[in-house]
């Protein structure tokens, strides 16, 4: 999520009010106006008398000419609103568990009808307890406690949050349970794990080295007569913005072992494991926020490159973490990935476009938002505000840009996913920053969408867009967000979060024709105002799909078979097990030559009509007999006998995908394992 956007929340900013002791000094009695002076500013006089309710959701503007919106007839378009009782609908997936956000990460668990809430709102004396929309009363200051990204290891799920990390036991996904709530505020809480180490991003000024939740005290009110004096910056040596490193050998008590400060903090980070370096891991730090003063962290400069060639803008930061001595983690380079190689200027890329025509702001390329590394092919895809980048990372300390693309429909390049064979990259456009309703019937379906690119010889070329097909309401923040591959052999399938648009499973095997094959959605949190919520990330991990619901908690799903995805394909996906998953550190998926994988390929060849019906039938029969016999020699020999036909079929297959499936199927049938 890039929460740096306009249209900022109707958000529960709200009840913030309730808990701000220090704010109260701003409510001290105001000095009486001097004689003859008016209290009304010129701006106020110009405002229309009937001010629109600033809390009400704004309807979408008309669709720009020549664009299409989303489908209002989809069952997801009009679901019942509610925080914990919203309407739900799903296709091709089943909601198997929901775990509410822990109390330690909520101000309070209340409903707006709770008399105590009504009472305290009244006592606040803001005079707006009635005016305040119900959703606002109910969901208090959610952004400060928003759930964010996931990491996985063994039976543990790590859910980042602006306020810390929650660790869950997922040994039985349907009975997911909370193990540890680790309080350590600072947003966004992007999280990764590696062996005994956990990494966490911090970017906000309330982040403290000691994980304290108290933030920093406000400046005292100025002395009378000195209100206009310019105050000197106040560096805070206890402030922390950067990447924290924890030892998680005791899962119930993570211990901070290092905290690496950076100039812009860390909005996201990416774990990079160099296949040639067993002693160290690396962290790519993407900072999108303001550059802090050099008085607070030496060497930080937020000047433009013309004024200061050492500016902290226009770069990423690389942290090296010695695995045996994580306390020695430190920044080792500041790659200038936006440099123009010919002229040497460091701001060599400019923003790639906008939604133009008055709709959305353009973005400058002075930062990456997120980077996905795929070390086994030596490349990374950088989603870098105004551009999509392709980086050579064979030397992980010195990534080099090999290609950059832009797109006229893109507002903010947000994240990236490679196809397993590295022939495609799916980028996302976080139009509206994740805080806005951007999937309404009148929002163009090429804006705030995935953009699928072909990748060949280190060059990216655009293929098509994919956007959640179902229209969402005015009060549902919705745009393309984080997803991961589902290891169905023979197909490129991604499960992806769309905030309050829910979860969508997309097949992009044919990049020109991406297709939705499964989904889950809930109604909006509130019917009248946009309250921030929905899925930040939806990732597949060892057989289940996990959704990180910003406001509500944690969801667990399972895939169910449909015409578009068979049980064999699901079982084949489940046969892939990994020990650890950090989605932005993409690992090559590999399938063991099991017969369940073979059955998935057969289903696919039947669906695409790449093989005649009788050949499909005899393949199925042979596989079934081999299974029944527990891979007896005779039956295996029969399987092997069928591979010739497949191999010759591969030579004449109409699509590359079918040819690959036939070859892969033949390989399994030659040497199947149990």
């Amino acid at each position: 999520m890039n929460l740096t956007r306009r249209m900022v929340l109707s958000l529960a900013a709200m009840a913030a009010v309730l808990i701000f002791p220090e704010l109260s000094h701003t409510q001290e009695p105001k000095p009486a106006p001097a004689p003859g002076q008016t209290q009304t500013s010129p701006q106020e006089q110009e405002k229309p008398k009937a001010q629109a309710d600033p809390f009400a959701a704004q309807p979408a503007p008309p669709l720009p000419p020549g664009t299409k919106g989303s489908d209002v007839n989809d069952p997801r378009a009009k679901l019942k609103p509610g925080m914990y009782d919203a309407g739900e609908t799903a296709k091709g997936m089943k909601h198997v568990a929901f775990v509410k956000k822990p109390d330690a990460f909520q101000l309070q668990a209340t409903s707006s009808d709770d008399p105590s809430v009504q009472k305290m709102l009244g006592q606040l004396g803001v005079g707006s307890a009635e005016k305040m929309p119900k959703g606002m009363q109910m969901v208090i200051a959610q952004l400060a406690f928003a759930n964010s990204d996931f990491a996985f290891q063994g039976n543990h799920l790590f859910q980042g949050n602006f306020y810390g990390v929650n660790i869950y036991d997922i040994s039985n996904p349907a009975k997911t349970s909370l193990l540890t709530s680790m309080v350590c505020p600072g947003g966004q809480g992007d999280v990764s794990v590696y062996g005994n180490l956990m990494f966490m991003s911090v970017e906000m000024p309330n982040g403290r080295i000691d994980c304290g939740a108290q933030g920093f005290p406000p400046e005292p009110a100025p002395e009378p007569g000195h209100e206009k004096d310019r105050r000197l910056p106040v560096p805070q040596k206890e402030r922390f913005r950067g990447v924290r490193v924890f030892d998680i050998s005791d899962i119930k008590s993570p211990k901070q072992v290092a905290a690496v400060q950076t100039c812009r903090g860390s909005h996201t980070h990416t774990l990079v494991v160099d296949p040639n370096d067993k002693d160290n891991v690396y962290i790519y730090v993407s900072g999108t926020s303001f550059v802090r003063q050099s008085e607070e962290l030496a060497g930080c400069s937020g000047e433009g490159p013309e004024k200061d060639p050492n500016t902290a803008l226009f770069r990423i930061d690389v942290i090296k973490v010695p695995v045996a001595h994580p306390e020695e983690a430190a920044i080792v380079s500041h790659p200038r990935v936006f440099i123009d190689p010919r002229s040497g200027v460091i701001n060599g890329l400019n923003n790639g476009g906008s939604h133009g025509k008055g709709e959305e702001k353009p973005r400058d390329t002075d930062q990456c938002h997120d980077i996905t590394v795929y070390s086994s092919i030596g490349l990374a895809a950088g989603a870098c505000s105004g551009n999509g980048l392709l980086l050579d990372i064979k030397d992980p300390v010195n990534p080099k840009r090999v290609d950059a693309v832009n797109d006229p429909n893109y507002s903010y390049w947000h994240s990236a996913t490679f196809s397993n064979d590295g022939s495609k990259v799916v980028f996302t456009d976080e139009w509206g920053g994740g805080l806005g309703a951007r999937c309404r019937a009148n929002d163009p379906n090429k804006w705030g969408a995935d953009a699928i690119f072909n990748l060949k010889d280190e060059k990216l070329s655009f293929a098509n867009y994919y956007k959640l097909p179902a229209a969402q309401g005015d009060t549902e923040n919705c745009v393309a967000h984080n997803g991961s591959l589902i290891p169905v052999p023979g197909r490129d399938i991604e499960v992806q979060a769309w905030y309050q648009g829910g979860v969508s499973v997309m097949d992009f095997t044919d990049p020109e024709h991406p297709q939705e094959i499964a989904y889950f959605d809930r109604g909006p949190i509130d019917p009248k105002m946009l309250v921030l919520g929905g899925d930040w990330s939806a990732y597949w991990y060892n057989g289940a799909i996990y959704g990180s619901e910003i406001a509500r908690g944690l969801d667990v799903f399972e895939l169910t078979s449909t015409d578009l995805l068979t049980q064999n394909e699901i079982d084949a996906a489940k046969s892939v097990r990994v020990k650890e998953l950090n989605v932005q550190n993409q690992q090559k998926l590999e399938w063991q030559p099991k017969l369940v994988v073979a059955k998935a390929y057969v289903d696919q060849l039947e669906r695409s009509q790449a093989l005649p019906k009788d050949q499909i039938a005899s393949l199925r029969k042979a596989i079934r007999n081999a299974e029944k016999s527990h891979l007896k020699e005779k039956q295996v020999a029969k399987l092997k006998a069928m591979t010739g036909g497949l191999e010759s079929g591969a030579g004449t297959a109409k699509t590359h995908a079918d040819a690959s499936r036939m070859q892969a199927l033949a390989e399994i049938l030659k040497h199947p394992v149990a």
Binding site: S24, L179, I209
Partner: protein, 239 residues
């Protein structure tokens, strides 16, 4: 620290205490007491509760927190409120400037840019009003002696980068290419002021810790920086 003094009765850890506390303490306590009742029956069911912990600085031990801990927010400061009120005034002038475009220039690039600035800044004004209203604050600066106000309470001393009345007058009188030039140079100056305001905000003690204001201010910095670059290019093309 001052607050809302109220008489309070709360039950914390089963102990009845009475005293005068600020409202927020009372609120938390009231809710805690509710959750305590729930916790009794929960405890009978669940043998091992999830751990609630707070790490220390690097190398320092991690400490356990009570299992019924609730979250708390960082403070917001006078500088936050000043920033939002000042930025509403600042944005209002941008909207005022862009409102001149349709009757003052035919330049397509300036028109498109103006429409974009107008729509996003008007939207942001709504957001800032929400933020302030939600916190019981006025949406404009009303006190003499505040930044942006002269001693007569008029907004003579402007927020950084705002165009002076003379500059605004010159802009109103200009047309065509002359308007384009004044508009672009004026808006570059105006946006530059917004960057100063963000810098000042984040350089103020205790400011920018609220998640909403952090995101908004970060966005202002990123997007106006980009728009300045675009306007500089447009301005070069005019010469």
């Amino acid at each position: 620290m001052s607050g809302f003094p109220v008489r309070e009765t709360s039950w914390v850890g089963g102990q009845r205490t009475q005293g005068t506390r600020v409202l927020n303490r009372m609120v938390i306590a009231a809710l805690l007491s509710l959750s305590q009742f729930a916790a009794v029956s929960e405890a009978q069911k669940a043998i091992e509760k999830p751990a609630v912990v707070q790490p220390g600085a690097p190398g320092e031990p991690t400490k356990p927190l009570p299992t019924d801990t609730h979250a708390k927010l960082p403070p917001i400061s006078r500088a936050d409120v000043d920033f939002m009120q000042g930025m509403i005034m600042h944005h209002s002038q941008a909207v005022e400037m862009t409102a001149l475009i349709p009757s003052h220039t035919e330049n397509g690039a300036v028109r498109a840019l103006g429409a974009r600035i107008s729509s996003s800044q008007a939207d942001e004004i709504r957001m800032m009003e929400r933020w302030l209203v939600a916190r019981g604050q006025a949406t404009s600066m009303q006190m003499p002696g505040m930044p942006g106000m002269d001693m007569q309470g008029n907004s003579m001393a402007l927020m950084p980068g705002m165009l002076s009345p003379e500059q605004m007058e010159a802009l109103r009188k200009a047309h065509g290419a002359e308007f384009d030039k004044l508009f672009l140079s004026g808006m570059i100056q105006h946006h530059g002021g917004a960057l100063v305001m963000v810098k000042d905000l984040f350089n103020s003690a205790g400011a920018g810790q609220d998640a909403e204001i952090f995101d908004f201010a970060t966005d202002v910095d990123n997007s106006q920086r980009a728009e300045i670059r675009i306007m500089q290019k447009l301005l070069e093309e005019l010469h």
